[in-house]
C-alpha cells in the first residue's frame, strides 16, 4: 500500500483512542470533590514534589544502552550482505566485536553495570 498506510494507521489510532475516551465521556456522571484530585498513594496527604531525584544508575544504563544500540544499527547492513562477502565479513565483525567488548569490559570494571 505504500507509505500512505503509515498515515492511515496513525489516524486509525487517533480514532480508536479518541473514540473510546469520548464514548466514555458520554456515559460518565462526574462529581466534584477536592479529594478526588489527590495522588493515589497511601491515604495521608503526600509530602514533597513527585518529580524528585531518582537513582543515577538509570542514567548510566541509558548511556551504555545508547552505545550498544548505535552499534546494533550498524550491524543491520552488515548482516544483510554477510553471506555475499563471506569470510572477510566474519573477520571484520570479530574485530568490531572485540573493540566493543573491550569498552563493555571497561564499563563493567568501573562498576557502571552494578546496581547498588
Amino acid at each position: 500500500m505504500g507509505a500512505a498506510s503509515l498515515l492511515v494507521l496513525i489516524f486509525a489510532g487517533i480514532a480508536f483512542a479518541g473514540g473510546g475516551i469520548s464514548i466514555a465521556l458520554l456515559f460518565v456522571k462526574g462529581s466534584k470533590n477536592s479529594q478526588k484530585g489527590e495522588a493515589y498513594e497511601c491515604g495521608i496527604p503526600t509530602k514533597g514534589s513527585p518529580w524528585n531525584q531518582f537513582h543515577v544508575g538509570y542514567y548510566l544504563f541509558a548511556l551504555i544502552f545508547l552505545i550498544f544500540d548505535v552499534e546494533l544499527v550498524f550491524m543491520y547492513p552488515w548482516a544483510v550482505v554477510v553471506k555475499k562477502v563471506g569470510m572477510m565479513a566474519l573477520v571484520e565483525i570479530v574485530i568490531f566485536f572485540f573493540i566493543l567488548f573491550m569498552g563493555f569490559l571497561y564499563a563493567h570494571k568501573k562498576g557502571a553495570l552494578k546496581w547498588m
Binding site: 498506510s5 503509515l6 486509525a12 466514555a24 462526574g30 513527585p50 518529580w51 546494533l72 554477510v82
Partner: protein
Amino acid sequence: MFSLEGLTNFIHEWLNGHLPATFALLAEFVLVGVAAIGLFAVLGLGLVWMERKVAAVIQIRLGPNRIGPKGIFQTSADTVKLIMKESLTPANADKFLFNLAPFVVIIVAMLILVPIAFAKAFQIWDINIGVLYVTAVSSLSVIGILMAGWSSGNKYSLLGAMRSGAQIVSYELSAGLSIITIIVLTGSLKISDIVASQENGWWIFKAHIPAIIAFVIFIIAATAETNRAPFDLAEAESELTAGFHTEYGGMKFALFFLSEYINIFIVCAIGATLFLGGWMPFHVGHWAAFNHIMDYIPSSIWFFGKTIFLIFVIMWFRWTFPRLRVDQLLNLEWKYLLPISMFNVLLMTLVAIMGWHF
C-alpha cells in the same frame, strides 16, 4: 475457506473496476483503518480472556464462566464497565501529557502492524526494511510509558516508568541481536523474503544450535520488553500499586491495558515470522507429498496458530517463575544475555558462511 490469501488483491481489483482511481484508493484507506481497529478490538478482548483462562487452567480453577459460553463475553462486559467509569485527572498532574500518553501508546502499537504478514500476500505494506522498522517503532512505546509515568504526579508512577524504561531499552539489545542472527541467514530485512526463505523448513530447525539459542533469548527478551511476569517490575503490585498507570482510570486505563496485549501479540508475531516461518506451512525439505498435504491448511491459520502458541508460552511463564529483583533483572541482561547473544551472532555467521545449515 478461512484463508486470507488473495483477499487484498481481489478487493483491490474490485474497487478499481467499479470506482474511479482516487475513490478506490480512499476506500482502501478506510478499509485498512477499519480492519486495524477491528483487529485491535478482537485481539484485546480475546487475549485478555485467554490470559484469564490460561491462568485458571494452571491454577486448577474455572476462571470466567458466567457470561456467554465458557465466559467468552466476560471481557466485553468488563469493557462496558470500564466505559461507565469516570477517568480522573489528578490535580497536580501535567494535564496535557497525561491525556496524550494513551494516544501515543495506541498509535505506536498501530504503527507496528504495518509490515506484519498475517497470511500469504496479506500485508499492509511490505517495507524493504521490515524487521528494522519493527524494532525501531516498537522502541517508541517507551516514550508513551515514560510520558504517562512522569506526568501523573505520583511517585509510584514515576518509579514504575523509570524501571519500565530501563528494562525495555536493556532487553531491546538482545532482542535485536537475536533478530540479526536470522538476518545473517536470510540476507534480507523484508518480511516477505524472510518468510519465503523458510519454504523448505523453518529456521529454528534448519540452522542448528545458534537458531535455538537465538530463539530462547528472543522469547526472554520479548517477555521483558512487554513488561510481563517474571519481568513485570514496572507494575509490581506489591511495591508500586500499578506502576506507570496508577493514576489512570476508566477508558484511559483500558487503552494502556489493551496496548500491553497488542504488544505481546506483535512481539510473538515477529518471533513466529523469524523463527517459525510466519505463514509458511510446516515443510520438510524435499518431501513433496508431505509438503503438499501441509499446504491444505490455510496460511492465516498457520500464522495465528504459531503466534497464539508463543503467546501461550509467555502466559505460561507468568505462572511458573517468581518475579525478579531489579538488580537481578539488569544483571541477567547485561552479564549473561548480551555476551551470549553477541557470541551467538558470530557462531551463526560461521554457520552461514560455511553453509552448515540446511
